[in-house]
């Protein structure tokens, strides 16, 4: 068992995922992980080591072949697809490598959508959207569609969207993988700022070694297994 803290918000137990390709491929062989509330965790390792698979399982985007995930005391295995979706709405925010903003919507609408999904009234959602876009420095681009934004700008909007419902956990899969070094640093600073300011838990997958400085804990992975964890205690920023 690899633990980052003794006040867990997220716990993975004997997590494994096998993909039914040919004879079957074990993308994640076994992962035991406990992440504390308010932690800033970086998951790192070589390409193909199972980082993204682990993140998808932690976020309930995929079902494990073995093992279980517990978020805020709720076991994923006890939830059906609808229950899992409802939990994702409120408790988990996602940031993806390719931003994945909805192309049909403007920046503001992208941020507003998760709030509307949980039943927030339009006026309240609009107010919070403005605050979030200001917080990520994108209020001047609120009415622009993703096609009219640069990669860095799109990722800022994606960060605002991930934080829309004030989730307990934000999961980011290679959030800087498509950005230059300046934008990458800005995004990491943004994550760190929200982590410090709101006490939300951040789990970031990246193979960029430089980002370890931001993290409280660095989880190392290799060949579908967690090989170790560094406790850094505070990190940069």
């Amino acid at each position: 068992m690899v633990e980052t803290n003794d006040r867990p918000i997220l716990r993975a137990t004997r997590l494994a995922r096998r993909f039914p390709v040919g004879e079957g491929v074990w993308a994640l062989k076994r992962a035991d992980l406990t992440i504390a509330r308010g932690a800033f965790v970086l998951v790192t390792g070589p390409s193909g080591c199972g980082k993204t698979t682990l993140l998808n399982l932690l976020g309930g985007l995929d079902r494990p072949t073995r093992g279980d995930v517990e978020v805020g005391g709720v076991l994923f295995s006890k939830l059906n697809e609808s229950g899992l979706a409802r939990l994702r709405r409120r408790e988990i925010g996602f940031v993806f490598q390719f931003f994945n903003l909805l192309a049909d919507l403007t920046a503001a609408e992208n941020v507003e959508l998760p709030m509307r999904m949980v039943g927030l009234r339009k006026a309240e959602a609009a107010k919070r959207t403005t605050e979030l876009l200001e917080a990520v420095g994108m209020s001047h681009r609120a009415r622009h569609t993703p096609f009219e934004l640069s990669g860095g700008e799109q990722q800022r909007v994606a960060v605002a969207r991930a934080l829309a419902n004030q989730p307990s956990i934000v999961l980011a899969d290679e959030p800087t993988g498509n950005l230059d070094s300046k934008n990458s640093a800005e995004i990491m600073e943004l994550f760190k700022r929200f982590n410090r300011g709101t006490g939300q838990t951040f789990v970031i997958v990246s193979h960029a070694p430089g980002f370890a400085d931001y993290a409280d804990h660095v989880v190392h992975m290799k060949d579908g297994e967690i090989t170790g964890i560094d406790h850094r205690g505070g990190g940069r920023g």
Binding site: P20, N56, D62, F96, N100
Partner: protein, 427 residues
């Protein structure tokens, strides 16, 4: 096979669940969120979604035009066809075994109309093989057929055309009987007169020799050429029924068929019956063609909806990752298709009506769009749209967020064994 049956039951179950009051209420609650999303999506993919509307619209236009053409042609043919002339509304011939005592069985007819028994016998005569019809003295068929001069005992009436062909005159003798062995056995009947005009066109009496019923029955009994009941009685083998009030003929036919299941039934067909037979039967060629129109339209809708889904896997996966329920994504896809489908349906109805009216100006058959054809077009358009959109939307509903976001193949059966096999290729 079991997988298919299971899949069919699951599909049925999902339809029933989707229509449950709880789900309908939730769908209505979600409409304000997903309708603008769907509208935005349609606007961005307008040309593609226009194809959905065009498929249905074209289907409706072809349906209305074809149904008008089939109906017009049937009515035209019905108008040009002469009715079968019969002296009764329903005639049952060769009542078959067990028909003796049929007078009791026919007692119910007195409620619906009148009936009479008569005899129809294919016999050998000196004029060749002929039908001999034996009618009672008080038979209504004499009057119904317009025969004024009735034959007396031992007399026969012959058709005018036959009398001319054989140079028969009143007083001449006609032999009626059967061929037994090498010889002829029968009786002799004197020609009372001839009949022609309207009666000559009668399908039942037209070319037959008309005699008194007792004469025919006694001759047949004598020759052993008649069905005999348990008591040795010989009964007529045909029934003519006339309905009291017009419009109850179908019921009358049904009852006669019930009483004499082996009998051959004749009745003058109404023009509407002929038109119905041409286009109205459930599996009539016309209806099969009309149904195929919507099968083709449905395939068009299916292709467009599937293409739209497959090109937006990532976007739909993101929606699910953000917390959209499977049912909400399903609703979104159906909504997107339904906007242009509704537009296409309206366009099709107007276009179909205009086309039929335009063609009617130069057509030799009367063309018109009926209320029932519009109703059928609407029902078939809605059903074909729902069936065509259901599969792509179900594929999306069943896929996991990561399956969509990673652009993996989608299978109707969400079990991993399906993906492992992958022989069908998925979507």
């Amino acid at each position: 096979m079991m997988d298919f049956v299971n899949g069919a039951f699951r599909l049925l179950g999902s339809v029933v669940r989707a229509l449950s009051p709880k789900n309908v209420a939730r769908t209505v609650r979600e409409l304000p969120l997903y309708t603008p999303l769907a509208l935005r999506s349609v606007r961005r993919r307008l040309l593609r979604y226009l194809l959905v509307g065009l498929c249905l619209g074209a289907g409706i236009i072809v349906f209305l035009a074809l149904s008008a053409a089939f109906r017009g042609t049937a009515l035209n043919v019905a108008g040009r066809t002469e009715d079968l002339v019969l002296p009764a509304d329903v005639v049952a011939l060769d009542l078959g075994p067990g028909s003796v005592g049929s007078a009791e069985a026919l007692g119910w007819v007195s409620q619906a109309g009148t009936y009479e028994l008569f005899d129809r016998w294919q016999c050998e005569t000196s004029l060749g093989t002929r039908w001999a019809i034996g009618l009672a003295d008080d038979s209504g068929l004499w009057q119904a057929a317009g025969v004024g001069d009735r034959p007396g005992p031992g007399e026969v009436l012959v058709p005018e055309s036959l009398a001319q062909a054989c140079s028969l005159a009143p007083g001449d003798v006609v032999k009626i009987g059967v061929v037994a062995g090498l010889g002829f056995t029968g009786g002799e009947f004197r020609v009372r007169g001839v009949f022609g005009g309207e009666v000559a066109r009668d399908a039942l009496l037209g070319e037959a020799l008309l005699l008194r019923l007792p004469d025919v029955l006694s001759l047949r009994a004598e020759l052993g050429a008649a069905p005999v009941g348990p008591g040795g009685e010989v009964e007529p083998n045909a029934v003519a029924v006339r309905e009291r009030d017009a419009g109850d003929r179908r019921r009358l036919i049904g009852r006669v068929r019930e009483i004499f299941p082996g009998a051959t039934l004749w009745w003058p067909e109404l023009p509407s019956d002929r038109a119905y037979r041409a286009v109205g039967g459930f599996l009539s060629p016309g209806n099969v063609i009309l149904a195929l129109v919507f099968v083709m339209a449905g395939l068009g809708v299916f292709n467009v909806m599937l293409l739209t889904l497959l090109q937006r896997k990532v976007q739909l996966g993101v929606l699910k990752a953000l917390g959209s329920l499977d049912e909400e994504v399903f609703l979104l896809l159906l909504l997107e298709g339904s906007f242009t489908a509704a537009g296409g349906t309206a366009l099709g109805l107007v276009g179909g009506a205009l086309l039929v009216r335009f063609v009617d100006r130069t057509s030799i058959v009367p063309l018109s769009v009926t209320t029932s054809s519009v109703a059928w077009a609407l029902v078939l358009a809605i059903v074909s749209f729902l069936l065509a959109a259901w599969l792509p939307a179900t594929l999306c509903r069943r896929a996991t967020p990561i399956q969509l976001m990673a652009g993996r193949r989608l299978y109707l059966n969400p079990r991993s064994t399906c993906a492992q096999c992958g022989r069908c290729g998925g979507f």
